[in-house]
Symmetry: C2
């Protein structure tokens, strides 16, 4: 080949951000991206809203099509082409054309692995029945939306009480069907501490979602190959449609088979420049391990923000730039009906057994002044290191306007602020937006030594 070539494996946030950034860095580079699905560069986070009918057309979730990448950026995208092996010694990848089944090889000078994460499909009796879905790709989204519009299931059971499971309660609630959620853990959302997860459960209960926390799904009943019920340790829940949202895991099989080192949860190990130890091989996004900056410990999570940033860093560095991605606080936000949920840094639960001594500050407060008509309850929970007073993490659950306050805590974490610092922040107040003492200030005041 005449031009130096970058091959990207996986065409979503990390991969296509990196490809675009690499094009900015080097006009002369040949850039070739393989995607096994039908779509690249799409907003996976928008899927619950599309399935819920809040977004009318699927193409709205597509940020850029393969054709646009070709025409505008000279980036070749091959969809329905799955990379099935990496051969680091030969600097080649083996690709299978999923349309024809044909296999072929392509050489690279630079290789970027952005294979993302995939939903965990638990190995339970009946899990292969029709009517049981995971929600991860635009193809899943399209199938589910069509199902809701045509077959009109009336009883939906969601298996899994994490972010995706909780978001999907709103999705199906919008269709005015009976929605149940089964979760193995006794409280919802493992990324929150149980006291905060219970607040989410309260809000979902009020929405009319039937919650069965602390009940592991043990299997699925079916009739003529179609799911008819979810069986838990406690009961049998009739279901026309089942969503399995029991978590995601890094898609690192290719990397493992190529001999690349893996870390937390099997995620690919990279340095802060998104380099793997193998010459010319980079990795970014949901398939890589990163660092939880609150503790300095290895960490893995699946977030579009991280994928985009890491993609940008990888694309910069592999074209001769120098940019670091030191890690993340894992700042996350979502909503389900009227309840907003966010967290950053580490929780009490995360810190159990780490030897880090911590204290907790909590404010049960409001999103606005008590007399303003849109006022809603909200709770802020802060975790700080005993001794230094350094903020380690925060969690927020509350009504409209509550959760975006997490960005204040993410900023305070990055600055290495103590709770004393947080307690004296000059936060904005006006009746529609906050209390005179913002709930964050109240939570911090409960922890600080001199305020």
């Amino acid at each position: 080949m005449s031009r130096e070539r970058l091959i990207v494996i996986g065409g979503d946030a990390a991969g296509m951000t990196a490809a675009s950034q690499a094009r900015r860095g080097r006009e002369d580079l040949e850039i070739l991206a393989f995607e096994k699905g039908n779509h690249v560069s799409y907003a996976a986070c928008g899927i619950p809203y599309y399935v819920g009918g809040l977004i009318d057309a699927l193409p709205k979730l597509v940020i850029r099509t393969p054709e646009q990448f070709g025409a505008k950026q000279d980036i070749e995208v091959r969809i329905r082409q799955e990379v099935i092996a990496i051969r680091p010694d030969e600097a080649r990848v083996v690709v299978r054309n999923l349309e024809t089944g044909q296999e072929y090889e392509e050489p690279y000078d630079h290789l970027l692995i952005t294979t993302g994460a995939r939903p965990v499909r638990p190995d339970l009796p009946g899990v292969e029945a029709k009517g049981i879905y995971t929600v991860s790709t635009l193809d899943d989204a399209q199938a589910l939306r069509q199902l809701m519009e045509t077959e009109r299931p009336t009883r939906v059971v969601i298996v899994g009480g994490g972010y995706i499971g909780v978001e999907l309660t709103e999705t199906f609630h919008r269709w005015d069907v009976d929605v149940s959620l089964v979760a193995r853990a006794p409280s919802l959302m493992r990324s929150l501490d149980p006291d905060m997860g219970d607040k989410v459960a309260e809000a979902l209960n009020e929405m009319g979602i039937h919650l069965y926390p602390g009940e592991a799904a043990t299997g699925f009943e079916e009739d003529q190959g179609r799911v008819t019920a979810v069986v838990t340790s406690e009961r049998t829940l009739p279901a026309d449609l089942v969503i399995v949202a029991t978590g995601v895991t890094p898609n690192s099989d290719l990397a493992r088979e190529a001999g690349l080192p893996l870390g937390v949860k099997g995620a690919i190990k990279v340095d802060d420049h998104m380099r793997t130890p193998a010459a010319g091989i980079w990795a970014a996004g949901d398939c890589v391990e990163t660092v939880q900056l609150a503790t300095g410990q290895p960490y893995w999570t699946s977030l579009a923000t991280i994928a985009s940033k890491q993609g940008r860093v990888a694309g910069t560095n592999l074209t001769g730039g120098d940019m670091a991605y030191p890690g993340t606080f894992g700042t996350t936000i979502t909503k389900a009906g009227p309840v907003e949920i966010s967290h950053t840094g580490v929780s009490e639960t995360d810190l159990q057994g780490t030897g880090i001594e911590f204290a907790v500050g909590k404010a049960e407060a409001q999103t606005a002044t008590r007399y303003y008509p849109t006022v809603q309850p909200m709770t802020v929970k802060l975790i700080a290191e005993v001794g230094s007073g350094r903020l380690l993490g925060g969690q927020i659950v509350g009504g409209a306007g509550a959760a975006m306050r997490i960005n204040v805590l993410a900023t305070a974490l990055q600055a290495g602020m103590t709770v004393d610092d947080v307690a004296t922040l000059d936060l904005a107040y006006a009746p529609p937006f906050s209390m005179v003492w913002d709930p964050i200030l109240l939570a911090a005041r409960g922890l600080c030594r001199n305020c």
Copy 2:
């Protein structure tokens, strides 16, 4: 007198917060507060919403009544009693009972001046006519609400394009009357730079508010003592009701007459413990000068957050505690109809002539992902010092959900962050709440050297 006595002059945010804090600090202290109006401890910031009919009853704006202060905290509050002189040499104040006209003196051991700020009533022909109001006290609020309910004016003219004038456009717009706003400056909101103020004007225009920026009011026409029009340099605007909101000024007459030193805009000079140079005399809230932490320069503004915090500091220190109020970034937020507005730190305009060299980063972005149905445009403007890259200030104008992002910038300011730091913040993303790259990150990226 047998007990050591604290006298508080002025019974709103700073004064009553200080009184409460002093009671926590010392059970034995006699605490006596004088208020010349009818109410203490009320939410002045709620007045526009009460007048607009969004809050049904005036008592909702009262946080605590004089009786409650007496019964619950052993704090004596005397309303309709105006302190008309301070005699520092004798440690006494002279009080006039506004009901009887009688004057009397009271001795103090500690004196706290929390006389607040008052609206500037411009000295224009006709300004004393009936139907011309300022909006500052609960009495103003009551009068205006009653007027809207009974006399039903149909043409309201607001004179003044600052925060209060802009907030009041929404207030009267709610009554479905014809609302005009006259402002001397060519762009709205002097606390914002003109480019950002113009965005506010665009939004008000869309609401149907008639804006006349760059037109100073020169007088008022009247008929039988009642206002009938506002006269500007360009036109005569018929009016049944006129609101004068041409700014506020520190209420420091008493302090000046007592020989206390004054600073910016005539505000009382205090140290970071809220002490004046006179023995036993403290001052806090809208009547005192503070420090703009972004530049270290003396600064004055009128904000409930500052008053509450300073009151807390004064109440702590005057009972033997040790707490500092080092200054403020002047973080402010408001809304008018669909547009949200906030700022923190200093603006381009503030920096003109200071010798500080600065650069501007601006992002024209959205409050949510482009496909989410509630998405609204928003603009973030950042000001940073050239060389160091240190953030100096920020301004935000946009739709619902935009303005509270100012708290991220207030936190970044307090941490002394550079724009490079801001550009790499781990801010939250989900489709209803933000773009993958939060508008703050985009604005910072435009300024930073290596991101």
